[in-house]
């Protein structure tokens, strides 16, 4: 019984990281209908920024984390302005290939700057706590707590503020939103900045529990977060949150009870089952093609 609780808590921890990243995928997909493959590499940039500030300039960890959120937000906005905006009118495929190109560019640029060798990331949250008989690191508690706060904040932002309303409108119908006097370009930029900032938060927590960073770390983390977004229903915020937690728990249970080698297979298996049974995900709205 204790093992189950332990695995569940670990699952919640990695799951909340997936949720934070999945939110970025989901928001961007909702608003520009693009699977942003560069999102995973934005996480990587966030991790490197924090690591660099802490290890080279011994900046306090929380300042480093805030700076990396800012850096990632700007990076996300720049990627959208330079690479995606000129292609908004052309086909989905060229947009997708551009996203893959940006992802390759970020990975290789980082390799050039910091070499391909993995770097050690010192845990920000030291110390442990005891629940029952098991010990948990404070990072676990911090990850879950901060994620809950952020998700609540994000929900408020989208539901209650003016820019949140604009985001919902643009994802509903881009052109009509424009006719209603909403600045679509600003809204899209803001969405990218927000998503990338969340990715940076996810990156910091991810590094605290896995302690190793390398230029290709983003692709697998990104893919799994993306699966989470699809599971919850891509384009839906509560969906991304629940999807992330489900994937995290499923992964943790597989690791604990089956085999740690099969976690990837289970994650992608979930993806396939969801797509075959209910492609719009848990919270997604089905849409029918009209003639």
């Amino acid at each position: 019984m204790m093992t189950l609780v332990y695995l569940m808590i670990n699952g919640l921890q990695i799951g909340s990281i997936y949720s934070l990243v999945a939110l970025g995928y989901s928001m961007v997909y909702g608003i520009v209908k693009l699977v942003n493959f560069a999102h995973g590499d934005v996480i990587m940039v966030g991790a490197y920024t924090t690591w660099y500030l802490v290890s080279r300039f011994s900046v306090p960890a929380w300042i480093a984390a805030l700076v990396s959120v800012a850096v990632c937000s700007v990076l996300g906005m720049l990627i959208e302005k330079i690479a995606y905006k000129p292609l908004r009118k052309s086909g989905r495929l060229s947009l997708l290939v551009t996203a893959i190109g940006v992802s390759l560019l970020l990975q290789n640029a980082m390799q050039l700057l910091f070499s391909a060798n993995p770097r050690m990331f010192t845990n920000i949250f030291t110390g442990t706590m005891t629940i029952g008989e098991r010990q948990f690191s404070n990072a676990t508690a911090a990850t879950i707590a901060v994620s809950v706060v952020i998700m609540a904040g994000l929900t408020l932002l989208v539901k209650k503020t003016k820019i949140g309303k604009a985001m919902r409108t643009v994802s509903e119908d881009n052109e009509t939103a424009q006719l209603m006097g909403i600045n679509v370009n600003h809204t899209i930029s803001f969405t990218f900045a927000l998503g990338s900032g969340l990715a940076a938060v996810g990156a910091v927590f991810y590094c605290c529990s896995y302690s190793q960073i390398q230029p290709t770390m983003g692709s697998m983390l990104g893919l799994k977060a993306f699966v989470a977004a699809v599971l919850g229903g891509i384009g839906s915020l509560p969906g991304a949150m629940t999807g992330g937690l489900c994937i995290g728990i499923a992964e943790s249970l597989t690791k604990g009870y089956v085999s740690s080698q099969l976690t990837d297979a289970v994650v992608f298996g979930i993806l396939i089952v969801v797509l075959l049974v209910k492609p719009s995900g848990i919270f997604g709205r089905p849409h029918n093609e009209k003639v």
Partner: protein
């Protein structure tokens, strides 16, 4: 240019051109104009052409977006490698048999995955194929007879430039004739509008699965060539990035242009090698070029243009004839000046 081309003549012309190109390549290799390293580069160019052209069938002509091409490639690669490792036949019989077997196995996987996957559309289909591709990789990683994470070693290095050349020709021939046939037109109609195609009585599911599995089959053949070229197989080399790499070749060449895929596969295989002088910068330059091409020419380098040797020659001769005709009247222009147009009466 409405006259029907002389088909048998066209076939002969293309066969002669293919044979001619082969002879030229062989002479270049024998005469050491291409050094050993450059001659070996012809093999990756070849299997990348097969990969790109086969993906173009499902991405460019069928209009779907598969992101799991590397999965089919790995199925073909492992099947072919395991076959050639377990039998001992003469090389010139063993390799083609292994490749055909690898291709068939990949095509079977194409049907198995295509049937559920093709019920979905657009992005969902892309995501599903991505998932299947990753699962194939994880399964290979966890199986005993595939060598797991250690990979499969000791596959005979049987892939030669000649075999690659032959299989590239076969691929191009089959896909080209398929596209131009009745079946090809059905596949194209699904790309243009699936609902309209279904309304016109085209069994869309049948053609989607057909195109998808043919595409998977040729990816398997390319995988077999790859396995017998490297002589080791490692499951981690068939991940999502490999699928993305193939998709990049196709989109850069132009979706729906076989010629574009061939050119782009050739250029993109040679380019990283040419940039080797810049060693660490090469992948950065490569990805920058990719983004730049997409921004400035989103339809790819060749769009939907198809090169046809016969048409080009026809155009050339027509042009030549036109030039001659134009010159003739000038040469022996009789002194019959055109009757001068009456001067328009100036306004009264």
């Amino acid at each position: 240019m409405t006259t029907r081309p002389n088909v048998p003549f066209r076939y002969a012309l293309n066969a002669a051109a293919a044979a001619g190109l082969y002879i030229v390549l062989m002479i270049l290799i024998r005469a050491k104009v291409l050094n050993r390293y450059q001659a070996l580069m012809l093999i990756p160019i070849g299997f990348n052409i097969i990969l790109a052209v086969s993906l173009n069938l499902s991405a460019g002509f069928l209009g779907q977006l598969p992101l799991g091409h590397a999965g089919f490639m790995s199925v073909g690669a492992y099947t072919a490698a395991l076959f050639s490792m377990s039998v001992s036949l003469p090389t010139n019989l063993e390799l083609p048999l292994a490749l055909v077997l690898g291709g068939l196995m990949a095509a079977v996987f194409g049907v198995l995955i295509g049937l559920p996957a093709l019920r979905l559309k657009g992005d969902y289909l892309a995501i599903l194929t991505l998932g299947f591709g990753e699962i194939i990789r994880v399964i290979i990683l966890n199986l005993k007879f595939t060598g797991g994470a250690y990979g499969l070693k000791g596959i005979g290095r049987q892939t030669t430039v000649t075999w690659v050349y032959i299989f590239v020709l076969i691929t191009l021939f089959i896909l080209n004739t398929l596209i131009k046939s009745r079946h090809g037109r059905a596949i194209l109609s699904i790309r243009e509008d699936e609902i309209a195609a279904e309304a016109s009585g085209i069994p869309t599911t049948y053609y989607k699965v057909l195109a998808f599995s043919i595409s998977a089959g040729f990816a398997g053949v390319a995988g077999g060539l790859y396995a017998h070229y490297l002589s080791i197989l490692d499951p981690s080399s068939f991940g999502f990035m490999k699928s993305a790499e193939i998709l990049v070749i196709v989109v850069l060449g132009g979706l729906g242009s076989i010629f574009g895929s061939v050119v782009s596969a050739t250029v993109l295989t040679i380019l990283p090698e040419l940039l080797r002088g810049f060693a660490e910068y090469r992948m950065v330059i490569y990805s920058l070029l990719l983004v730049a091409v997409m921004i400035f020419k989103p339809s790819g380098l060749c769009g939907r243009y198809e090169f046809s040797l016969g048409d080009t020659l026809d155009d050339f001769f027509t042009l030549l004839r036109g030039k001659l005709k134009k010159q003739e009247p000038v040469a022996r222009k009789p002194a019959t000046p055109e009757p001068a147009a009456p001067e328009p009466a100036k306004g009264k």
